[in-house]
């Protein structure tokens, strides 16, 4: 067990790391009592994205598969949750059904798409482009569902306006609710309860992913990242492992999507758009994709920074785009690579011939 948690694959094994981890956990545990309700509402929206970032880190940082369309599963999870919740509008069990339904739908869609993509040994840029086109087509489809014929049971897809917003008085999407004795307990987006739910889920998913990447599965995945052909010749089923990693990434993205709907009580087709898809890539690339922890922290810090910048003017997205370009040029493994024991800053090579370019 110890070798699984503190194994070789996920960085952060020193006593210092665990000390910092414990300190951060304590700070996070008391934080909601120190900040106002509005700040908490914002902070919750940052935290709920960490699962999306962690999934992308597993897929890209460990599996070497860059999906440019992770938000497809974020959106599919969110929409499925919303549709189920609207259709089973009574009782506390409906949101649990929505949660499970949302996670399952996204995972199954990812498994099918993974089968289509990885079983023909599509690699590198092709995977990124196909996943991006899939999410953009979903966005285009949903944008034209404003008409009254686009209903699933009693849920109206609502086109641009999104699911469950401005489309009738009973269609407000409800937050996650659990049956609690005679009453139901609802995790409102601005509540401390939602914050602690997120914190708990973050801890659970971080440790699960840590164990996963340090297990034989993670080692095989890392081998595929380093050299898919060699990994295959040793006997690993590259196609299967990549499809499984893709599905786990989708599961985590869907968890973020469901929590997002639960937080804001609405979802629109823009969650499938280009900007929604590039942001997770920025968080993970800038912070350090080869670490689950760095990716999760990066998601929170960069969203926080972007929001602070957005108050100043419209520079937030430009600066994030510039951060991404600079990270790729100067720190290909993200800020994490500046840390102790990591490979140092890499300056771009002056002159590279195209030979490698065309062989990949």
């Amino acid at each position: 067990m110890r070798s699984l948690i503190n194994g070789k694959i996920e960085p952060g094994r020193s006593v210092f790391f665990w000390f910092a981890f414990a300190a951060a956990a304590v700070v996070m545990a008391v934080l909601p009592f120190e900040i106002g309700r509005y700040t908490l509402l914002n902070f919750n929206s940052f935290l709920l994205m960490t699962f999306l970032a962690a999934g992308l880190s597993l897929l890209w940082g460990f599996g070497g598969v860059l999906s440019l369309g992770q938000s497809a599963f974020f959106g599919i999870g969110g929409y499925a949750y919303g549709i189920i919740v609207i259709n089973l509008s009574s009782g506390g069990w409906s949101s649990l059904a929505g949660l499970i339904g949302g996670l399952l739908t996204a995972t199954v869609v990812a498994a099918v798409l993974g089968w289509l993509v990885f079983y023909v040994r599509l690699r590198g840029v092709y995977v990124g482009i196909v996943t991006l086109v899939v999410t953009l087509v979903i966005e285009t489809f949903l944008n034209q569902t404003a008409g009254p014929q686009w209903v699933v049971g009693s849920a109206h897809l609502g086109g641009n306006n999104g699911l469950g917003r401005f489309s009738g008085d009973i269609q407000q999407l409800s937050s996650l609710t659990i049956p609690w004795g005679a009453h139901d307990f609802t995790f409102m987006g601005s509540s401390k309860a939602f914050y602690y739910l997120l914190l708990g889920l973050m801890l659970v998913s971080y440790f699960c992913l840590r164990i996963l990447v340090n297990s034989r599965f993670g080692i095989a995945l890392t081998a595929i990242r380093e050299d898919p052909d060699r990994a295959e010749s040793i006997g690993y089923d590259v196609r299967l492992l990549q499809t499984v990693a893709f599905s786990i990434g989708a599961l985590l993205a869907a968890l973020s999507g469901i929590l997002y709907v639960s937080w804001g009580n609405f979802i629109t087709p823009s969650v499938f758009g280009v900007n929604a898809n590039i942001l997770p890539v920025i968080w993970v690339a800038v912070a350090g994709r080869k670490s689950i922890a760095a990716s999760m922290v990066g998601a929170v810090v960069l969203q926080w920074g972007a929001q602070a910048l957005a108050i100043q003017g419209q520079y937030a997205l430009i600066i994030q785009g510039a951060l991404l370009v600079l990270a790729v040029l100067l720190l290909p493994d993200g800020i994490l690579s500046l840390g102790p024991g990591m490979s140092r800053l890499r300056l771009p090579s002056r002159r590279t011939t195209g030979s490698v370019a065309l062989r990949r």
Partner: protein, 297 residues
């Protein structure tokens, strides 16, 4: 008869749309292996360049070329500053150009605001057999065909084409023989940017010119690139567009535009399932089947 003409017209229209959207991207991908995610933004710059030039009183054809040149300048700057350093690392170049696209589109939004520009397309119509055809659409088709022919001639008959094909098939060998591959890559990227800008200027006559202008064309261009593959630029480009335009036209006529797009995506997935290296791989395999088998010893 009228239905046939109507189908052919729409097919030619789809062919032009796909060719113009994708040709710049396909050249850069085919020659350098780099997928330029900022392709749509280069189209947007071309559209703005053309619209501003046109409203400044420059005649339309020159205005469109001015748009193409504006995109070329931006493209060359991007190549020099960013893409050149990432030639050996394709996933990184994909991510970096995506960042550039975000910077360009948001920068345009900041500088130019969300307002829209436009170029009127009053080229008139052509009536035939009781049907009217837009001359502008027919012109787009003619330009698309002309661009493909010109590219083929450029690669086939000029010294640049020879060096470019040498670089494509074996960069080390080409370099050993004295070809400056980095220069070839730079020119290729400039050419791709120019074609993106020209396409932007041409589409500016039908679509509102705004910072998000390119977003409508990039998914199409990506689909064409994936189907075209990297084995042979001209053959890959034309066969993939002939097939995808057919799929798009058939589904657009019989169902609706959106289904046309979805059908293109499905067709892409079907094609890459049978040949992951693009349609040219399928063609190569077909040609090998036709070859006589070597006599067994």
């Amino acid at each position: 008869m009228a239905e046939l003409f109507s189908f052919l017209y729409q097919y030619a229209d789809a062919f032009a749309l796909l060719t113009l959207s994708a040709v710049g991207l396909v050249i850069v991908f085919g020659m350098m292996g780099v997928i330029n995610m900022a392709h749509g933004e280069l189209m947007m710059i071309g559209a703005f360049g053309a619209a501003f030039s046109y409203h400044a009183g420059i005649p339309l054809p020159l205005a469109i070329i001015a748009g193409g040149l504006a995109a070329t300048i931006v493209g060359l700057i991007l190549e020099r500053l960013v893409i050149r350093h990432l030639y050996g690392r394709l996933l990184y170049s994909l991510v970096a150009t995506w960042g550039l696209s975000l910077i360009l589109s948001q920068g345009a939004l900041l500088v130019l605001g969300p307002s829209t520009l436009g170029i009127p397309s009053d080229l008139g119509n052509l009536s035939f057999d009781g049907l009217t055809f837009s001359l502008y659409r027919l012109m787009l088709f003619a330009i698309a065909v002309a661009i493909i022919v010109a590219l083929w001639a450029l690669l086939r008959f000029t010294p640049f084409g020879l060096h470019a094909r040498a670089t494509m098939s074996s960069p080390e060998m080409a370099e050993a023989l004295g070809v400056e591959t980095t220069r070839i890559y730079m020119i290729t990227f400039g050419l791709g940017s120019f074609l993106a800008g020209i396409a932007g200027g041409l589409f500016a006559m039908t679509a509102p010119v705004q910072p998000t202008f390119g977003a409508a064309y990039t998914p199409i261009a990506f689909i064409v690139v994936v189907v075209a593959g990297t084995r042979n630029i001209i053959v890959g480009l034309t066969t993939s567009i002939l097939i995808l335009a057919l799929v798009k036209t058939a589904f657009t006529i019989n169902v609706n535009i959106l289904t046309g797009y979805v059908a293109m995506l499905v067709a892409t997935l079907v094609i890459i399932r049978s040949s992951p290296d693009g349609i040219t791989e399928l063609l190569d395999r077909g040609r090998n089947l036709l070859k006589p088998r070597p006599a067994s010893r």
